[in-house]
């Protein structure tokens, strides 16, 4: 009997995973707000980005509930996300070369978006190409951070560095979603349930990492 109940509860959790994922943004907003004064500049950018994400989640959720198409907001959010991640990497890199790469990526991403808008938008309303390009660029930026760590000894306890947590979080999230966005068009046409479930799990994980980053990044 209890096994049936447990399976039912598990099923509910599974069904409501996207709701949990949307609400999980509250945790980093709260923790970030508590420690805001003691955060570094890069982490303050992260807080602003997380707060904007929270607002977007709220508005898109309301629009979805009222059956209004929220794709425009969804696409706008991509640009904010990429801009925030690029800015955080830009201010965290020691190397001028990698700072330059961030600049090149920003320009390339905008150029790619324009091309995508004018030539491919008609058959790809989800803008999977942009999402895919964004994922690839963020993964390369993560690699830039890791390369600097592999070149010279900087931190004895890397796990206490907020930037390491952030980079690891983004690498896992974007690596996980890269595969999803590669086939997003086909998946959305077939059955989007699993698509959103996997995305929700990765999103919850990323929000937990944001919380850890804020906690690790506070100056005591």
């Amino acid at each position: 009997m209890w096994k049936c109940e447990f399976a039912k509860q598990l099923g509910n959790v599974s069904n409501n995973l996207h709701v949990i994922s949307a609400f999980s943004i509250v945790a980093p907003i709260l923790v970030g707000a508590i420690y805001f004064k003691s955060l570094s500049f890069a982490l303050r950018i992260l807080f602003v980005y997380v707060a904007v994400t929270g607002i977007f989640e709220l508005i898109t959720g309301i629009m979805f509930a009222y059956g209004v198409n929220n794709m425009v907001l969804f696409h706008t959010y991509f640009y904010i996300e990429f801009l925030a991640i690029s800015a955080i990497f830009f201010f965290s890199y020691d190397s001028v070369f990698w700072r330059g790469i961030v600049g090149v990526f920003l320009v390339s991403f905008l150029a790619f978006s324009l091309i995508d808008y004018f030539y491919f938008d008609a058959w790809d309303p989800f803008k999977a190409n942009e999402r895919y390009a964004e994922g690839l660029m963020v993964i390369i930026m993560c690699a830039g951070y890791y390369i600097s760590l592999l070149r010279r000894p900087i931190h004895r306890y890397l796990e206490r560095q907020p930037m390491f947590w952030l980079t690891s979080g983004w690498l896992i999230y974007f690596a996980g979603t890269l595969y999803l966005f590669l086939f997003s068009k086909e998946l959305l046409e077939m059955d989007s349930f699993h698509f959103w479930q996997i995305h929700a799990i990765l999103n919850i994980g990323l929000n937990v990492i944001y919380v850890v980053s804020f906690v690790m990044g506070r100056r005591l």
Partner: protein, 249 residues
């Protein structure tokens, strides 16, 4: 398609996790290796400093002994010969000059090899050093023993290093700081020796690198490193410097 989706995403996440763990472990190992190298370099440096200090002390000891045995003996012989002369103003002048010379030679001997350190210990030797300095300079130099914990016993070479550090500081202050007073405070408690040198001068801390006094400061730093001591120098806004030296057992 769903299985493919889950497997594909899981595989990507797994690869990302593996990269994260690899970077974490690699950085830790690299840091530890680098840290060991630094430790080895520091140990080498310490050995060099130790050898240099020992050689200097040995040479100073040899000069002090030569001065004491040869010059001291000559001065004693001279005193004996002068004593045999008939009383005259010349004899009195010679006796006075001889006394002054003997005093100066004894001072130089004591500076080169502080005999008092072995016999009296650090606190009394510092007190003696300060009293002799008071006789020769117009600065008000005071030695204050705040608390003397018997459990704080330094090794002979450590006591000598502390003595030399104070000697160097006092010499620098007298020569360059234009101070009107110097206080040397010694506290021995909780298995730690705290030594404080306070003056109202213009601050030896501001001495330029190529200044002759900066060599003395280097010497102080080397000796502190040699005995694993630490030093904090604070310069007051108006005038004066406080140097705090700490040596834990």
């Amino acid at each position: 398609m769903n299985e493919l989706l889950i497997i594909g995403s899981a595989l990507m996440v797994f690869i990302a996790l593996a990269i994260v763990v690899f970077v974490l472990v690699y950085q830790r190992r690299m840091y530890e290796k680098h840290h060991k190298l630094i430790e080895l370099e520091l140990a080498d440096q310490k050995r060099l400093i130790e050898a240099e200090i020992r050689a200097t002390e040995r040479e100073q000891k040899r000069i002090a002994q030569d001065l004491h045995d040869d010059t001291g003996a000559s001065l004693t012989s001279l005193r004996f010969h002068i004593a045999q002369l008939q009383d005259s103003p010349q004899k009195r002048a010679m006796t006075k000059t001889l006394s002054e010379t003997t005093y100066k030679v004894r001072n130089v001997c004591n500076e080169l090899l502080p005999y008092t350190l072995e016999e009296l210990g650090l606190a009394d030797s510092l007190s003696y050093m300060v009293s002799r300095l008071n006789d020769t300079v117009e600065i008000d130099v005071n030695f204050i023993l705040i608390s003397d914990d018997n459990s704080v016993i330094l090794e002979q070479n450590e006591e000598l290093a502390m003595y030399r550090i104070v000697q160097e500081f006092l010499s620098n202050i007298v020569k360059y700081a234009e101070a009107s007073y110097i206080d040397v405070l010694l506290t021995m408690k909780d298995r730690t020796m705290y030594l404080e040198i306070v003056d109202d001068g213009n601050g030896v801390i501001a001495m330029p690198k190529n200044h002759p006094g900066s060599f003395g400061l280097q010497n102080i730093v080397s000796r502190l490193r040699y005995i694993n001591g630490s030093m904090v120098r604070t310069q007051r806004k108006q005038r004066g410097t406080t140097v705090e030296i700490r040596k834990s057992l």
